[in-house]
């Protein structure tokens, strides 16, 4: 698999150019961001890129989704990608983040999504894979991430999303899965990673997403949660992930998409989110940072651009597919992969 190299770089640039066409505010430093990303892409041997190797499955999914968006999916060697993806599959049925890495539900969903995108789900032994995911469900309805038993509502979302894509949702006990997610509901209307865990915008996205796919959004107190979520928007216009935290470009995603799912997105001011993102640009050297005047990085650049485009251009056509929601890991390094995926499939936007 060599998808990480030249092809991905091409797709990033294409994507940027393409998305920015829809941007009407005219203040986004298009050329500079593109150059910035190019410069980052050249640094293949630096420390950061080695540290990220275990996430390559997510990267592949992100890059291919970008190409799909651009209508360029035909330019990739599908067989090569499929054989790389399949080389990450283990005997258990689960996929690792890269060749040789252990299987985990986080990467299993990405693998399924890559194959679904390429219309190659038929290479999978679907029942084996679905059984792997189902085997991770615990007695209380929760899901472990792998055989080592870490439990988190992120994994509930991933399992439900993945089985839904495979049309095998009946392999798990949906009622118990829903009840577990509901048991993580807090007194502020939000959700935590396990019962008693503090509400967090990323975790809320997972839980609301899991409930959306299973038709269980009636468990959400939409007004209470909607108010908590809309209060994530601070005076500067940016959004934070928890009360009294600093705003951050990447949280725009979790909050916005959760608000959309519960039909309360009008409670925040989108223009001010845009303003905040524009203020996070490094106008000299390109790139977008988490907050104004912080160091730029590639994740916040992708993210900022993606949100800007999707929220403020109206030149998009809807695309069916609540099933295509992505894997989720609220850690910043993974974020942009997810964001791409979600923006295009979950938010139903296509340029």
């Amino acid at each position: 698999m060599h998808f990480n190299g030249e092809q991905q770089r091409q797709s990033i640039i294409c994507f940027l150019v393409c998305s920015l066409k829809g941007f009407t505010m005219g203040e986004l430093e298009v050329e500079k961001h593109a150059q910035y990303i190019l410069s980052v892409e050249k640094r293949k041997d630096d420390f950061e890129s080695v540290v990220m190797e275990h996430l390559r499955m997510n990267g592949a999914y992100w890059g291919l989704t970008t190409l799909d968006l651009l209508g360029k999916l035909e330019t990739v060697d599908k067989d090569e990608i499929v054989s790389w993806v399949m080389s990450c599959q283990h005997e258990s049925g689960g996929f690792g983040g890269n060749v040789g890495h252990d299987p985990h539900i986080l990467y299993t969903l990405s693998a399924v999504q890559v194959l679904a995108l390429l219309d190659k789900l038929d290479v999978l032994d679907i029942d084996k894979l679905a059984n792997y995911i189902a085997s991770l469900q615990n007695e209380d309805g929760s899901f472990s991430g792998d055989m080592w038993g870490e439990v988190d509502t992120r994994f509930s979302y991933i399992a439900i999303c993945c089985l839904s894509l495979l049309h095998r949702i009946d392999k798990i006990n949906v009622e118990k899965a829903v009840n577990y997610v509901v048991s993580c509901k807090n007194l502020d209307g939000g959700f935590g990673s396990i019962p008693g865990g503090e509400s967090h915008a990323g975790q809320i996205f997972c839980c609301v997403g899991a409930l959306a796919i299973t038709g269980s959004l009636h468990h959400v107190d939409k007004d209470l949660l909607g108010w908590w979520l809309c209060e994530r928007q601070v005076k500067s216009g940016g959004l934070n992930g928890r009360p009294e935290k600093l705003p951050d470009v990447c949280y725009s995603w979790w909050v916005l998409s959760s608000l959309i799912m519960i039909d309360r997105v009008h409670w925040i001011n989108k223009e001010k989110v845009a303003r905040f993102i524009l203020d996070c640009q490094d106008k000299e050297n390109g790139g977008i940072s988490d907050r104004p005047d912080d160091a730029v990085d590639v994740f916040h650049t992708y993210f900022g651009v993606a949100v800007s485009d999707n929220d403020f251009s109206d030149s998009c056509t809807p695309l069916e597919g609540i099933h295509c929601m992505a894997m989720v890991d609220p850690k910043p390094p993974v974020l942009f992969y997810i964001v791409m995926e979600l923006d295009f499939h979950f938010l139903n936007i296509r340029d």
Binding site: R43, D45, D46, V50, H54, G96, G100, H101, D102, H104, W148, E150, S164, I169, N186, L187, D188, G192, I194, G196, G197, E198, S199, H200, I213, T214, G215, L217, H218, W228, C230, Q233, K235, G237, R242, P243, E244, K245, L246, M261, I262, D263, V265, H266, W267, N269, D282, S289, D290, R291, D294, A295, C316, P318, G321, I322, K331, P333, N348, I349
Partner: protein
């Protein structure tokens, strides 16, 4: 990369490349060992080094677990076991010092602790360090709950810890959160020292006041205060708040035509051609399990156990605020106007009303033809004679008797609310604080709801003051103005429908002649009120004709409770899609619908789609055929509209002025609605 200041760019330096190369070598060695299942000391050191450099290398944590299991397989010496596990804790600790948000590291630690050989006290000491360094780290809080459970720490002790954390820093939302979790559990279990509830909550109010008055702009305490308020005013058990027919009312049911003159109240008349009339019960919260064993209906013509109760909900959860059943009446030949009593009992609530039956001659009286079009124009409506009007506004207590012991603490409720209101009025006289205003508005609303619950309450409500507060907030905090706007609308609705006099000013009589399905020609006209949301359905169950046109509605959530609706005008609002109209699916009496001049089809993002029952949310089977409406060989992919309309028998529909409308769409409508007589003012043939 968060919170790192922006500096001038530097090219990748040699040091970074060297570091990367070194990491690559480590990684390669590690994977070789993992693959070959080598768990010797040197191999373990390599994985430790890898994790200390890159804690996110999750496979290395897995490898170390395998190594521990392998190396302890034949070990029985507790000291040797402890030594192996201590080494794991050491690796985790140094990984956490590099990145204490690393999921894999925290989980590895839990895994080791679960073996039961390690000192839990040491964990508390470590946590104190971590929580001091970052008092909001949710991994650390989560780990704290884990070790507290492992040590069987009492919840009181942990509650004490949150008090300490809060007193160190009032702005610690994580501590307030943990406090709410612990406290609600302690209250629920009625643990010694945590009863009576009122005493505990009063102390909590005092604690949170300190936080709020120290820094009124910090959100942490306000969220906790909001939770306390909810704990104060929300009754535990669901309460029946209203019904149709209303408690104490005399219902006139006629069938096969219109009511003739001489009926005392148009509000309590109903006509039916099905030999039955609906009985609707409405609760203060969503409830499940309503059936003939939980609700007893005493009625001459039905056996209680034969009644089938249906939840009025758009989802299939089996829960709803409003439930409906149908009561039969016999074929009455005489004109005796005998009033038959009906009694309904639900838990501790009950209501009673009478039903008189009227058989009507075949003549249609002064009524118009069923084919006639309803015209939603000002000159179609007349102020009605007040004599005929006595809308069944229910007060909460009218429908409920035998109140639970909650009587005892109603005094405490009232005092607490009054106290909080006075306190925040004082605070706001000194500073202009948005969340303080919002809290005051919520307190005043809660207060109004409570006095409204008291029988014969004569106190004035605060709705004017609450409306002013929300108007203020819209200006003070424009980013969230549409939240305040929605709240403003709900309060305005409460104000309009909460008392008879006010409601009467919105009631109009439709036309001289009206179709027979409209046996009650009283139209509630709530148009041009700039409403963005609607509510107060408990007072509107009687409405058969409703005009909500020229508002700013984006949602009609809750409208499904209004089972008697036969004519509904939603034109000139801000409804964005058919999925936003889902409540209409449940309005089986609906004949006339106007949704013209909305924004259906004008937006690419359908924000109500995820709340809508469809195969996408697995609420409808996979066999659901969205391509079922093929007309003249043209596939009509209007599945949302199809779902809404396929169960309705509309005779009149107005859709013009929506982006979705074109010739093809209108053709689709005439196919899916064979009962349609009028479409956009034109006769359908």
């Amino acid at each position: 990369m968060h919170g790192r200041p922006r500096k001038p760019q530097k090219p990748v330096d040699d040091a970074s490349i060297a570091k990367a190369a070194k990491l690559r070598v480590l990684q390669a060695q590690f994977f070789q060992n993992h693959h070959d299942k080598i768990y010797a000391k040197e191999a373990l050191e390599i994985s430790a080094k890898l994790l200390e450099t890159n804690p996110e290398a999750y496979t290395a944590w897995n490898y170390r677990k395998l190594a521990v299991e392998h190396n302890l397989r034949s070990e029985t010496d507790p000291d040797a076991i402890k030594a192996v596990l201590d080494e794991e804790l050491r690796v985790v600790e140094s990984a956490l010092r590099r990145n204490f948000k690393c999921y894999g590291a925290w989980h590895h630690r839990k895994w080791v602790l679960n073996k039961g050989y390690s000192s839990v006290d040491h964990e508390f000491r470590l946590l104190d360090q971590f929580q001091k360094a970052d008092s909001r780290n949710f991994h650390a809080w989560s780990y704290r709950r884990f070790v507290a459970a492992l040590k069987n720490m009492s919840e009181e002790e942990e509650l004490k810890y949150t008090t300490d954390m809060i007193e160190t820093n009032f702005s610690n939302y994580s501590a307030w959160h943990n406090r709410s979790v612990l406290l609600s559990h302690l209250l629920k279990q009625k643990i010694e020292g945590f009863t009576p509830r009122e005493k505990v909550l009063t102390e909590e109010y005092e604690l949170v006041h300190q936080a709020l008055f120290t820094d009124p702009d910090d959100q942490s305490g306000w969220f906790y205060h909001f939770w306390l308020l909810d704990q104060t005013v929300t009754p535990g058990a669901p309460v029946l708040v209203s019904s149709w027919p209303a408690h104490g009312s005399d219902l006139f049911v006629s069938f096969k035509g219109n009511l003739d003159g001489g009926v005392s109240s148009s509000f309590t008349s109903f006509c039916s051609d099905k030999g039955a009339f609906p009985l609707i019960i409405y609760f203060n919260q969503s409830v499940g399990g309503i059936n003939s064993s939980t609700v007893t209906v005493k009625h001459l013509f039905d056996k209680n156990e034969d009644l089938i109760w249906v939840p009025l909900a758009t989802n299939n959860s089996g829960n709803a605020q409003a439930w409906v059943t149908f009561l039969r009446f016999p074929d009455v030949k005489d004109d005796s106007l005998k009033a038959y009593p009906v009694e309904v009992k639900v838990g501790h609530s009950q209501c009673a009303f009478t039903v008189s039956l009227r058989s009507i001659d075949s003549k249609h009286g002064e009524g118009g033809s069923d084919m006639e079009m309803i015209v939603w124009k000002d000159d179609s409506f007349h102020a009605s004679e007040p004599l005929l009007l006595s809308p069944p506004v229910v007060s909460l207590d009218q429908a409920t008797t035998n109140k639970e012991p909650e009587q005892i603490d109603s005094r405490w409720h009232e005092e607490t609310l009054a106290n909080e209101i006075a306190l925040f009025q004082e605070l706001l006289s000194e500073i202009n604080c948005k969340i303080g205003k919002l809290t005051l508005a919520r307190l005043l609303r809660a207060h109004d709801k409570m006095i409204y619950k008291m029988p014969f309450a004569d106190e004035k409500t605060h709705s004017k003051e609450v409306l002013d507060l929300f108007s203020d907030l819209m200006k003070l905090d424009p980013s969230h103005s549409r939240y305040y706007k929605d709240e403003h609308s709900l309060v305005l609705m409460e104000q309009v429908v909460s008392n008879r006099e006010s409601l009467l000013t919105y009631c109009w009589k439709y036309g001289e002649a009206h179709p027979s399905y409209l046996c009650n020609p009283i139209c509630l006209r709530l148009s041009k009120l700039s409403l963005s949301r609607i509510g107060s359905f408990e007072n509107l169950l009687w409405v058969q004709m409703l005009d909500l046109s020229h508002n700013e509605l984006w949602s009609i959530e809750g409208l499904e409770a209004m089972q008697l609706l036969s004519c509904l005008n939603l034109s000139n609002n801000k409804l964005r899609s058919f999925t936003a109209l889902e409540p209409l699916k449940l309005l089986k009496s609906l004949k006339v619908l106007n949704i013209s001049y909305n924004e259906i089809g004008a937006h690419s993002i359908d924000t109500s789609r995820y709340l809508f029952s469809s195969p996408l949310s697995h609420t409808v089977g996979d066999d659901w055929n969205i391509d079922a409406y093929v007309t003249d060989g043209v596939k009509m992919n209007y599945w949302e509209a199809a779902v809404i309309f396929k169960g309705l028998y509309l005779t009149q529909l107005d859709v013009v002025g929506n982006a979705i409308v074109d010739e093809k769409f209108n053709l689709f409508l005439t196919h899916i609605l064979p009962s349609l007589v009028w479409l956009d003012g034109d006769r359908v043939y």
